[in-house]
């Protein structure tokens, strides 16, 4: 059987697209890595219905309940705990769930697989005890777990502020918040008037900061962060106000913003654009979310970071685009107008330029002794040395150093290699490309691939 659309990711964008597509009469299969719908923002939404965790996770989290229920009732086929590890032309998708590989076919594909945290290497970032804010929030949403001991948060962006507020709301302890953002700068202030269009979000951010100042230590203007310890994190060092400081630490949670997931669109050879403000690539898409590959659509943060509200709208827009691609007899332009999709999206994105200017990605050059590729343990110094005698193509660095050849497929080191190449060759960062992405998109076992051959024999 051929599905009209396979949707990858059951977060805000994927669920709203699936609901809309079902209304338009398309057959839909939604595959998602998580055991339940919601994506990262609403992870565990169905189980965190009440109690102190539900309260602490806040009103935005609870807003996911309605869409999740609508998705459950939509009639879309839903395959949770499933990884998509290969997508082949027009369109065959290779999936694994419960240790078994299988293939499904689709007339069109929607990638609504969200974002990942931007990895920013610094001295000591690979020590046990150092993890990302996003990972800590997963533990909170899926298991109600709070970090213990001397807990520090370092980084910039809305997520660490939100997470800190959630932890404090659950009577957790935070020893200090090391704010690495540049603070309110002119560039950010220039974006503020437009940001007023999303007053509630702006107020929300200010409230988070106020609570942090009241409950813990908020240290601004932090740079040169270093994590130290013997086999595990024991101590932090940083510079603030021109002074070098130290503190004991058991847990350090870091976060420097999020970037779209692009491995799928890179592997499929889609055109991508460079976002200079937030320093990431995103698949280029038209006003319906269709990429340069006909029949392949993107929505939500996977198409460029916009947050969950914008993601739900872009999911609805992509659903209309997909309906057009499938030849479903419906006036997509009229539906776009009636549902005020463009107005809703522009309101949802109103705060974004302000946030982008306030939380610019770090530009500090990475010291030679810092590990950049965690999988293959390649340092910045090794990459710089090879970069000086190679072309500015990251694949040459990969071949020469094994950087990016490990199980994470360059998800941890890709942008860092790009930045180092730009630095060494004196190029604008966006002029340096990303690694070539090779299948599988997620590690699968030899046995799983072998079983595909048996499947073929049986047919």
């Amino acid at each position: 059987m051929i599905h009209d659309v396979v949707v990858i990711g059951a977060g805000p964008a994927g669920m709203s697209a699936a609901v809309q597509l079902r209304k338009l009469g398309a057959s839909v299969l939604v595959v998602d890595e998580q055991p339940a719908p919601g994506g990262q923002i609403w992870r565990g939404i169905e189980r965190n219905a009440s109690g102190p965790i539900a309260v602490a996770l806040g009103p935005d989290y609870q807003k996911g309940r309605a869409l999740t229920a609508a998705f459950r009732a939509s009639g879309a086929e839903y395959s949770p705990s499933t990884q998509v590890w290969q997508i082949e032309d027009e369109w065959t998708l290779f999936l694994t769930s419960e240790g078994k590989a299988r293939r499904v076919r689709a007339r069109a594909v929607l990638l609504s697989n969200g974002a990942q945290e931007r990895p920013v290497p610094f001295p000591g970032w690979t020590l046990p005890g150092v993890m990302t804010v996003g990972a800590a929030q997963i533990l909170l949403k899926s298991g109600g777990m709070l970090p213990q001991g001397n807990v520090w948060i370092a980084g910039a962006g809305p997520l660490p502020l939100l997470y800190a507020t959630q932890v404090l709301g659950l009577k957790g302890q935070i020893s200090g918040f090391l704010d690495t953002s540049r603070g309110l700068n002119l560039a950010a202030l220039a974006k503020l008037p437009a940001a007023w269009r999303d007053l509630p979000s702006l107020a929300k951010g200010l409230k988070w900061q106020r609570e942090l100042r009241r409950n813990g230590r908020m240290i601004r203007g932090v740079s040169d962060l270093r994590a130290e310890g013997n086999g595990r994190l024991q101590q932090l060092e940083w510079t603030a106000g021109g002074v070098r400081r130290k503190a004991k630490a058991d847990v350090l949670l870091v976060h420097e913003g999020v970037v779209p997931r692009i491995h799928e669109t890179l592997a499929l050879g889609c055109d991508h654009d460079w976002n200079p403000a937030q320093k990431y690539f995103a698949a280029r898409s038209n006003r319906w979310g269709e990429t340069s590959r006909p029949g392949l659509f993107v929505a939500g943060d996977a198409s460029g970071i916009g947050g969950w509200t914008a993601a739900t709208v872009s999911g609805e827009i992509a659903a209309l685009g997909l309906a057009g691609h499938l030849g479903i007899k419906v006036d997509t332009e009229a539906l776009r107008r009636e549902n005020q999709l463009d107005g809703r999206r522009s309101r949802a994105l109103a705060l974004r330029p302000f946030l982008d200017a306030l939380y610019t990605p770090p530009t500090t050059s990475i010291a030679d002794d810092v590990v950049v590729c965690r999988c293959e343990e390649v340092t910045a110094g090794t990459i710089r040395k090879v970069a000086r005698t190679s072309t500015s193509d990251p694949n040459a660095i990969k071949a020469a150093t094994r950087c990016g050849m490990g199980p994470c497929q360059g998800r941890q080191c890709g942008y860092t290699v790009q930045a180092i190449l730009a630095e060494v060759h004196n190029l604008p960062v966006g002029d340096v490309s990303f690694f070539n992405i090779r299948p599988p998109l997620k590690p699968i076992t030899l046995g799983e691939i072998a079983s595909l051959g048996e499947l073929e024999d049986a047919e």
Partner: protein, 373 residues
């Protein structure tokens, strides 16, 4: 830019020709469209194999084998060569009979590099091998190398020998004048007395630009590399009649290849993995080594390489154009031959002939007839 010799193609064969020519006093420019080793040389399983070679290739292959054991003398590095041996196992009686015939034929001709071994010796060499394997051809001096380290070593040696390497340099036109070539490239005009066409999957385009059009296919062999795992398999293992080669690298990763073909893009500029076709090779690997079933795959890819109808390379002078030497079409098994082909082509460059019989590799086999003028 001006040199005695222009080598087109920065794969291992191009680098080897450039290095060995420069060592003999020839001035060399090597141009590469992307970066060194971008295609077949970087995508190879890097098997160093005399086992199962076509008789016509054996002189080149045996010479190369000797060089691999003393690679440091040539390029100042062992290129990660590990003389772990190669095994071609027989999974049934038919396969065993074919291997037995081949080894006897070789012995009758005086070649002793392949040896037939029985089940006991086979399983003591590879204890994890499935019990149904009946015997094997065993080449104790074969092995495998590290392709990226090999590219780096040949590059460094070539640069030290005076080769001028120009990457991101696409050749767009070749014009033969009475004594020299003028090559139009994306980085300017290059004048050279001789051209070596080491263009790999794009060698036919170079040949066409030079006025010696040929027909070649493109091979898109796929490879699989897994996460690191504890040491379990020493030799490189293949299976007669199966699209499989299996080895464990120095890093501990398993590398599985063997010739399953990926999908060539319609414009012949790229190739992608065909997962169902790849499953045949992986299935063969799991059948030979059931214990690896749970090991995770990290990466797969499809390399691109010129392929001739008889799977033999094209090595030697053009017969239609002066000053053009071909070295391409290795059809998926050229890695081991890099040192000897470089030596033989350097002979052609420097003295116009070589001691090896290259008639089996003559370009006429794949020439496209041009309409009479």
């Amino acid at each position: 830019m001006k040199a005695d010799l222009l080598v087109i193609g920065g794969g291992l064969h191009g680098l080897s020709v450039a290095l060995q020519s420069a060592r003999r006093g020839v001035s060399v420019i090597l141009v590469e469209r992307h970066f060194l080793g971008r295609h077949a040389s970087g995508a190879t399983a890097a098997g160093v194999r005399t086992l199962g070679r076509h008789p016509a290739e054996l002189p080149l292959s045996l010479e190369a084998a000797a060089t691999w054991h003393a690679m440091t003398d040539l390029v100042g590095d062992d290129c990660g060569f590990n003389a772990c041996g190669q095994l071609q196992v027989a999974e049934d009686e038919t396969a065993l009979a074919k291997i037995r015939d081949r080894v006897s034929r070789l012995e009758a001709q005086g070649f002793t590099h392949e040896r037939l071994i029985g089940s006991n010796e086979l399983h003591s060499l590879v204890p994890d091998l499935a019990r149904h394997c009946l015997g094997a051809a065993w080449t104790v001096d074969d092995g495998s190398a590290d392709p990226h380290r090999t590219i780096g070593a040949f590059r460094d040696a070539a640069i030290a020998a005076g080769v001028q390497i120009v990457e991101k340099c696409l050749v767009t036109g070749l014009v033969r004048h009475s004594t020299h070539w003028l090559a139009q490239t994306s980085k300017g005009v290059i004048e050279a007395g001789l051209i070596v066409n080491a263009g790999g999957a794009w060698a036919d385009q170079v040949a066409a630009l030079a006025g010696d059009p040929v027909h070649q296919a493109i091979r898109t062999s796929m490879m699989v590399v897994t996460e690191r795992t504890s040491a379990r398999v020493k030799p490189v293992v293949s299976s007669l009649g199966q699209k499989l080669s299996f080895k464990q690298t120095a890093q501990g990763t398993l590398v599985i290849g063997g010739g399953s073909q990926g999908k060539l893009a319609p414009d012949r500029q790229s190739a992608s993995v065909d997962m169902v076709a790849l499953a045949a090779s992986v299935g063969a690997a799991v059948r030979l080594f059931p214990a690896v079933e749970g090991i995770r795959i990290v990466r797969t890819w499809a390399g691109m390489e010129a392929m001739t109808p008889d799977h033999l390379p094209v090595i030697g002078f053009s017969h239609r154009v002066d000053g053009l030497i071909h070295a391409f079409g290795f059809s998926g098994h050229g890695f081991q031959l890099v040192p000897s082909v470089g030596r033989a082509v350097a002979d052609l460059v420097c003295q116009g002939s070589t001691n090896l019989d290259l008639s089996a590799f003559d370009v006429t086999r794949i020439a496209i007839e041009r309409a009479a003028a």
